[in-house]
Subunit: 431 residues, 2 copies
């Protein structure tokens, strides 16, 4: 089947999906959990084949790790699906209701986006998470996973499909693409596909943005900053910076640049240097930093770099304003933190730093859908429109305006026979 | 000044703007209204020059009409600004608050988008409306108006600038581009500009979408449908269809295709034919339609056409499902209406028609920001993401996540020393 035909059929399924009640969607999610558990031995077997083949092809160790789908991963997924079932249905919520005139009412009601194309890398558990989020939010999906996980993805897809079929949901709501050529086809289908969520390298996300008219939700870079204010608690600052940088270095919410106020640099930098030496973190500092501790020199390029590695760039600043300006110039709008005991400075930082996630006195690593209590996430968005930061169910939903009248026509208002009342009403949508 | 330099300066102004309190923004809006009134003679004079020049250049009559800026237009604008002042500040609203753990709190807080590029055609009053909406929502703007309105736009821009300067707002928050070359430059500035709102022809909107990485909010087409159900009130149906088609034909929310259930076509079509003959509306019908009334034949192309003229395509359908499918196939996701007394059918139509505005028993012409009670609109969006339908203040706002802790680090949760509580709290953001 061509991707276009797949998308056409998915569009019909999406229309059906948009009208499903919460009970039916939750029953389908429950069946997915059940069937995943029933088929687990087969799934693990397929996964071992994927791992063996990929190891033979010299896939890098961290990618092999991500590729692994075992009992622990399955348990996490089943927990995730259970928490998703418990969540309120995001569809059909009345977001606004206004009486426009007597018996003419306006409602803003949440509804699914439609068809979502998701391109993800090695982790096969992402396929299950994303499909479950899309099902709960009533969206049809076209999924493309990494080649290295192809057997695992295939059996996961088949398991989900069998479960939703049993629940009476049209098959075409979920679709698995298998080749790269199909991705190129997908990018052209702006007539059918409403949103693409790419999860992969920066270059890959940019490539997709440049090669499709379809809106893209994704993040290009995670150049996260921590600014230690002159009024920082020193112990806290050290602990937060160390956690932000080293708790897990290869992720987008890890710290890449430390900004430190000159009044506390003398005290804090030597303490940090000691901690980072223990953890083999290379520091790259500005001139002032290098006047206090010994480290290599940071270049202009360093301020723009997402290392995803045991490297940290360090800059001493003269003021909070200079810190904010640095972040708004070099940052990527992902996650930036201030460590300070001064409330006015915290407020200033949180208002003026133009990022999706702004933190006070905690680690940048908290920037995550699970930690935020969203149950699951499809990714973290550095877009400013539609959805920003970690994206859970809310980011997979849009709205439509519903207006219900009793024969109202505009000529009556244009010719001043009637007037709008525009009165907020406290009512859910009904006809 | 190059557009890039303008955008760089606008970015700095946008950061200041994002932190302005409601009082300061409202004072600025009040000053804008005052100065527009003070300078009105000069503005009218500039407008007359624009009209005379454009008439000499044989600009089409409807465009000359739109170009006109007189006492009546000014009054409407001043009313609009007053209602905007009375509206709640859309910025700094707490949209969600969750306790993640003891003394670790997550807030989702509304904030401005940043820098918005707006390209509009002849109507100079749009410049004032859009600037006022952007100011109230804390966004900086780059404005490009039509060449035909250049003198009017210039003096309106200068008047607004003088007012906001007096209110203490940095000059660079508002910028007027004067040439087409500057638009090409603007489209490349995805580093600074967060959103482009084009108001113009379909081709123009598509051109912009294809030539910029910047997200575009606009509408490509307004192919609006009205479906007359088998359970329709006949008198209502006729009145709604006539209003939807003829109350103002050249606008995006005017009716372009009528769908009518075969069970009522025999009764209603002759009544409509009489009304439309009186109003010189050309009907283009499917075969079944032409079996009932005399009219020209509709082609496949007609179902895809936004006439913006005294032409209506008509199709007889066998069922509400066929009507919904027709709309979801040929529609543009703008505004579609059902006329029916059957609640189940109304609900079905409103759920399954995949458009930004779905109406029951009222004219498609109600699809408008003013009529919806939004005070003003920057346009009507047929995008499905971010903002859909008429876009007022809400569509010019995004959000950021703010997390406030007391030294919290992720290692404590990863190593199971602490657990998330994820408890909703009923609190506004504070540090």
């Amino acid at each position: 089947m061509s991707v276009e035909l797949m998308a056409q059929k998915a569009k019909k399924a999406a229309i059906v999906l948009s009208g499903l009640d919460a009970g039916k969607k939750n029953r389908a999610l429950d069946l997915i959990a059940k069937k995943l558990d029933e088929n687990k031995e087969e799934i693990f077997k397929a996964n071992i084949q994927d791992i063996e083949r990929s190891t033979g092809e010299n896939l890098a160790e961290p990618l092999i790790k991500r590729l692994k789908f075992d009992e622990k991963k399955l348990e996490d997924l089943l927990d995730g699906i259970k928490s998703l079932i418990d969540m309120e249905d995001p569809i059909g919520k009345t977001l606004l209701s206004t009486e426009l005139d007597n018996e003419l009412e306006l409602y803003k009601v949440s509804c699914p986006i439609g068809i979502i194309g998701i391109i993800f890398e090695s982790r096969p558990d992402a396929l299950v998470q994303i499909s479950a989020l899309c099902l709960k939010s009533g969206n049809a999906v076209l999924l493309k996973g990494g080649r290295e996980a192809s057997l695992t993805n295939k059996i996961l897809y088949e398991t989900i499909l069998a479960a939703t079929r049993e629940a009476g949901i049209p098959d075409n709501w979920i679709n698995l693409l298998e080749s790269r050529d199909e991705v190129s086809e997908l990018l052209k289908l702006d007539q059918y596909v409403d949103l693409i969520i790419p999860r992969g390298s920066n270059e890959f996300v940019r490539y997709i943005m440049d090669n499709s008219r379809i809106p893209v939700m994704g993040h290009a870079d995670g150049i996260c900053h921590c600014y230690i204010d002159e009024d920082a608690d020193i112990e806290r600052a050290v602990s937060i910076v160390v956690d932000s940088k080293t708790q897990y270095v290869s992720v987008c919410n890890a710290l890449e640049t430390l900004l430190i106020h000159e009044k506390v640099a003398d005290t804090i930098l030597p303490l940090l240097k000691e901690k980072f030496d223990e953890r083999n973190v290379e520091l790259r500092g500005c001139d002032k930093t290098r006047g206090i501790i010994s480290c290599s020199a940071a270049t202009e390029e360093d301020w723009k770099t997402e290392y995803l590695d045991y490297i940290l760039s360090v800059k001493v600043v003269e003021s909070i304003d200079q810190a904010i300006e640095h972040i708004n110039t070099y940052g990527s709008g992902h996650t930036d933190a201030i460590v300070s005991e001064n409330k006015a400075n915290i407020e200033k930082f949180m208002n003026y730093v133009d990022s999706g996630n702004v933190f006070a006195n905690c680690s940048t690593r908290f920037s995550d859908g699970f930690r935020y209590g969203f149950g699951a996430e499809v990714g973290i968005s550095t877009n400013k429109l539609h959805a920003r930061g970690p994206v859970g169910l809310d980011g997979l939903v849009t709205y439509k305006y519903k207006v219900v009248g009793k024969g109202h026509i505009v000529a009556d208002y244009a010719e001043k026979r009637r007037k709008f009342t525009h009165k907020p009403i406290d009512e859910k949508f009904s006809v």
